[in-house]
Amino acid sequence: MIIELGHFALVLALVAALLQGSLPVIGAARGDAAWMALARPAAFAQLVLVVISFGALTHAYVTSDFSVFNVVQNSHSAKPLLYKITGVWGNHEGSMLLWILILSVFGSAVAAFGGNLPPTLRARVLGVQAWIGIGFIAFTLLTSNPFLRQFPAPFDGEDLNPLLQDPGLAFHPPMLYAGYVGFSMAFSFAIAALIEGKVDAAWARWVRPWTLLAWSFLTGGIALGSWWAYYELGWGGWWFWDPVESVSFMPWLLGTALLHSAIVVEKRNALKVWTILLAILTFSLSLIGTFIVRSGVLTSVHAFATDPERGFFILILLALAIGGSLTLFAIRAPALKAGGLFAPISREGAMVFNNLFLAAACAAVFLGTLYPLFLEALDGSKVSVGPPFFNATFVPLMVPLVFLMAIGPLLPWKRADLAGALARLKLAALGALAVGLVAWYVNNGGPVLAVAALGLAAWLFVGTLVEWADRVKLFRAPLAENWSRARNLPRAAHGMTLAHAGLAVAMAGMIGASVWKSEVVTSLRPSETVEVAGYSLLFEGVGRLQGPNYTAERARFTVTRGGEEVAVMFPEKRVYDVRAMPTTEAAIRTTFLADLYAVIGDADGQGGWTVRVYHEPLVPWIWLGCLLMVAGGLTSLSDRRLRIGAPHRERAGKPAARPAAA
């Protein structure tokens, strides 16, 4: 009964979306206030209905209702409660429902907090949001209905893929989707602006917080996915340039560009057309990210919940959304008024470079990811593009970007003095040199490129801190003044410092983990030892262990360094009962500077076990850096300037005494 209610609620949500996507938009064109006002209640109704629908499916999972086909396929009564809940989105149908839920949350947020938007713009933004909703709800109802029944109901389910029964991956899809869907806001605002034919600072002030929020979620989602791959797959790697990773990274790259170009629109009223285009492309890539891997069009060994059957519907959806919006852009963009002027060496100029490099890097990743598709369509040959391609294209494009990233924030708007900015970066240059030399010395030489790259990360880190220190007059004024200056700095400034420094930290982690990783694969019998990077691991044997829904073989390693015991590690090999599927659970011992990572493989039948041990320097910094970036995004999001004054188009600049809306 509850399931049918959920199904019915989703159908009603489609009706609400149809209403929201039609009347208010027509109303905006005809200047009919009553029709435009319909958008808000429709958005709220859509949210309530989707929540009921999502709740119904969750209820079926929690109560293990095996008369529902989707639950049978992805759940089991013995599964821990957490994974019963996360199982809702651990499959294609449920994850689509999650997508729709997040979309309607964002739509309602515009309806709730958009009271100060011009009525026509609000009606149009909500209308465009509804169009996206219509596409997705129809797709779910017609091709991916999670509410189908199974008769007769089996006694128990087929369990969730054991690799997904993990806290890291449990929250990866919601974060990632919140990022993807979050960019729909920028998209809706862009389309609405194209229809209105007007883009101004107030528009950018509305777009920026939504983009920031989406970007923060997407950063967190990608980091969580990479962390999960690192500790769960047992390969000790954190990024494989697999299509499933690349497609989530492309919207991140363009989203980052959008974040910066929106600042230029807001502050200087320039780059308007480009920003609109970025908003459209970012969301288009999000759509591609949602679909292309799971539709089976691209092969990925890491993809879950794939379903090649629905490819046709997906292609139509993508063609409508992307083709339609780009056509609208081509027709309407020339009509937009051109913006302000600026010199090439200025803050705006730096943002242009940021955008160019990010867009070029995104294009390179896009090409590498989709090249197999193009080639197969052309002559039928099947190829795959591996990590060497991305290392040879993406990395060289990032180097100048990171180099300029330390300089950009030091340049004032309009016209800047490059020599002055560079003079202020002396300290950063020294820091880069020092870090490079230390890395060189510690590793007795080592690859020059890696040492240079580490120096580049230090350049960015110190350069970012120098900019912040300048602004609070650190060491040049009494502490009390530093403090009051720091407090008076806009939150967005702190946010930028955090995010840029975070990238430097993450970069250092990526370099360390790629270049100085050491790996030993060997076969051990009990009481034998393996040596890696100064650690010696004594293998003490393997015992059996019974988990809630799996049995495990657990190895015990005593780790010593210089004769002193530092840790005991327990890598496991689990076999999940229902699917009889084995998984590897790595044991990781982390110091802040490096990870020691141990995995056991199969027994060789003669008392020996395959053992793989990695020593990965700096690897924890990757996720620490991502955490800093997310913190930076959220700090910037809390900036009062993003919430106050934005709606007052005519009186922009006057701080309105309106309390914070969000």
């Binding site: 160019l356 490099f357 590498g368 494009l397 084995p582 998984t583 199969d602």
Partner: protein, 148 residues
Amino acid sequence: MTRKRCRLYIVVAALLVFGSATALVLAALDDSLDLFQSPSQIMAAPPAPERGIRLGGLVEEGTVLRAGDGLSVTFRITDGAQSVPVAYKGILPDLFREGQGVITVGNMQSDGTFMAREVLAKHDENYLPREVVDALKESGQWQGGSAQ
């Protein structure tokens, strides 16, 4: 600074950045492509040893042999019509088993053995890579209804 000058600067910068990106892409595409081949294709025309190959198919039943060192494994990959011997050293993925669809990445040796540096099995046991499905269909061994 006129509007024209401003636009000119941006266009020149864009050309430079995208031009170098294009150059990088073209240079990289030349030598970082792995060609997907089925066992039948490899037996018909053995590729040169330096060519990167992704060999996909099913692990043939009864062919998995582990060497005494506990690390080296040999097995055969089949598409039903032909099969190719594969050698690999390291830990196999969790879902590697006989009869399972896998993709191996490596090079064809001159002695007719495929030296794999990577063995990939999907994280989902019902899964067959699309290329493997196509290869099976081509060799007439495909029995499933749809590609899952």
